[in-house]
Symmetry: C2
Amino acid sequence: MKDPIDFYFEFSSPYGYFASTQIEALAEELKRQVRWHPILLGPMFQATGSAPLVEIPVKGQYFVHDFDRTAQLFNIPFQLPEPFPIGTVSAARAMLYVQQKDSALATRLAKRLYHAYFAEGQNISKTEVVLAVAGQVGLSATELEAGIAQDNIKALLKQNVSDAMARGVFGSPFMIVDGESFWGFDRFDHIRRWLQQQA
Amino acid sequence: MKDPIDFYFEFSSPYGYFASTQIEALAEELKRQVRWHPILLGPMFQATGSAPLVEIPVKGQYFVHDFDRTAQLFNIPFQLPEPFPIGTVSAARAMLYVQQKDSALATRLAKRLYHAYFAEGQNISKTEVVLAVAGQVGLSATELEAGIAQDNIKALLKQNVSDAMARGVFGSPFMIVDGESFWGFDRFDHIRRWLQQQA
């Protein structure tokens, strides 16, 4: 088996969401696994002097339209939620907590959280919403609430963000395959082409 | 015949260059013409608070690598020139001057200028280099030198940049098709998909 695709995503990122709906099909096509890494864009934006897309003059309007259009072109359920963007610390910690026990379940949770926010407009910045969504994939809200409050889970998220930044990750989605970095849902085709050229 | 694709590009933009090598094939596939619009990113970066890609911390390194990789994936001759980026007022004015007389020749000039800079490392920020390159497509250096010094050509470039910004153009390459805006070489496939969905 070839090395997995490292898939970095922020739960508040529309292109991260779009990528999350297609990354497994891409990986299967490339005969690889996916390693899911929830990250936080806040510290990365600080490092690059960047800001949430919709807050950038002129570009912001373009991207609001491009979100809708991209969703439509790839047939992905999407409605820009309100509020947007949001803080996603609880969602990211929840995924990391579950990942330690059952990575397949953690992936289902990630996809369910993304769908709740971007297709159903549920505000997953709120811990109680994260717990309710987790319940829908069979997780215990009580256990998860205690889990994401653990110091080691808080530290793990910080460490993961800092490890990602050390690998050059600065946006969402961000994919690393065989040491090669690709930023953006629009780079899926480049990943395909690049791996074909290496073969 | 359907409406043409408006193709906005800055002569110092690598992705604009990549797009310039493929836009005619895309247009032919879509049974459309291309209208070539040289623009200047400087005023647009001011409007969006943006900066040349390579000057952005962390992202800059990613993009220097992505330039090379994209060129390789699409089999486009490319070597990041030195200096980069550059001012391209002379190149843009030259294209506009020629466009008034012969738009097909102006397109040949644009492609030749891009190739001179990004494949041959010629510094097309210098007027004498622009004139020499123009000579290679059969233009008179003497006439062109006088042409690009005309007040109406200087005013035309300013007007074109401001018209582009009024249409929401903020980057290079930028394509507008049937009123729909697409930013980036990586949006070619979205243009295809979008037009298919409209059909």
